[in-house]
Amino acid sequence: MEEEIQTQEDPSYGIGDYMPSAAIVGIIFSLVTFAVGLFFGYQQINAEPTGSFFSPFMISSGVICLISALAGLLAVWHFSKEVSPKIKLGQGAVLGFLTGAIIAILSVAFSELWVLLFDPEYTDKIMSSLIANIEEMELPSAQKNEMIDAMAESVSSEQSVFRQLFMGIPITGLINLITALIGVKIFAEKPEEKF
């Protein structure tokens, strides 16, 4: 009995407890960010080059970053509703990092699948459009050439899927970890005041 009370007051969770919340929120957020990215991506492809920094592709980066950063917060909310409202700071951190890792993995997977199954030219079309936009920018030609070279190189170097996957996890995980900690502050059950 005493042990049961101790467990309720000081819960410990395994990966299996975190996974439903991390997976559900991760899948939803990676689908949403993928759809947003695709929408802005085709807007970019079909847009006339204006030379403005604010191309659809650039706007999508900000929007996607803002949306995906909230996943950690929502994973904690989901966990507090579905598993237990008692969640410690460290547990929130693990949940947030897991959610970020799932988003990083699925985002790469969805993009690869889209290119593989539906539009093999997608990446090339985006790059051509971005390069055309840079060419219209009012910048010194040396700077323009540098930017174009860097972009062209990033396409030709064809980063391996595994490199993208593993390099994407740490930072996306860390950002979602931070928002998960904020989620713990907002959604976790507060201990009763002791007088």
């Binding site: 860390l174 900690l181 507060k190």
Partner: protein, 148 residues
């Protein structure tokens, strides 16, 4: 100080994040975009060299606003032990955080719609404010005994 182990782990993680966001210049590369430091951040930042600070002549791996946010998070994190000594109570922390987020959106939108033109300096400053607000909103976890 409570949750001391997590504090130290995240201090190391945030320090690493800021250091790596400095980009390829630290490692002698001419660009950050295709450098491994750039690949680390490509899913969270647009990495436009024209809107990034440069180090050793090489644009950083993240733009100036993201660098401000990361540096602000680290600076705020370093302040937490100091606040702990003074038993600082930040009751409006989440409101300040919300205000800092709104400020980013306002600045981004104002620039997008042509009402004003932000600079690297203003983006670092506003990003830094958001970063510090994030850390300080979490500060009481590390020195209030009644927190989880």
């Amino acid at each position: 100080m409570t949750n001391g182990k997590l504090y130290v782990i995240l201090l190391i993680a945030f320090s690493g994040m800021v250091f790596l966001s400095l980009g390829g210049g630290v490692w002698g590369a001419e660009q950050s975009i295709n450098h491994w430091t750039g690949v680390l951040f490509q899913s969270v930042c647009h990495q436009d060299p024209t809107r990034s600070l440069s180090l050793f002549g090489t644009p950083m791996a993240v733009n100036s606003r993201c660098f401000g946010i990361f540096a602000g998070i680290l600076a705020g994190w370093l302040l937490i032990p100091l606040l702990s000594m003074f038993k600082f109570k930040n009751k409006r922390a989440l409101m300040v955080l919300l205000f800092a987020v709104m400020l980013q959106i306002l600045d981004y939108s104002g620039n997008l719609l042509g009402y004003w033109e932000n600079t690297n300096f203003s983006r670092v400053l506003l990003g830094g404010f958001l970063g510090v607000a994030v850390s300080l909103s979490l500060s009481d976890f590390f020195y209030n005994d009644n927190q989880t």
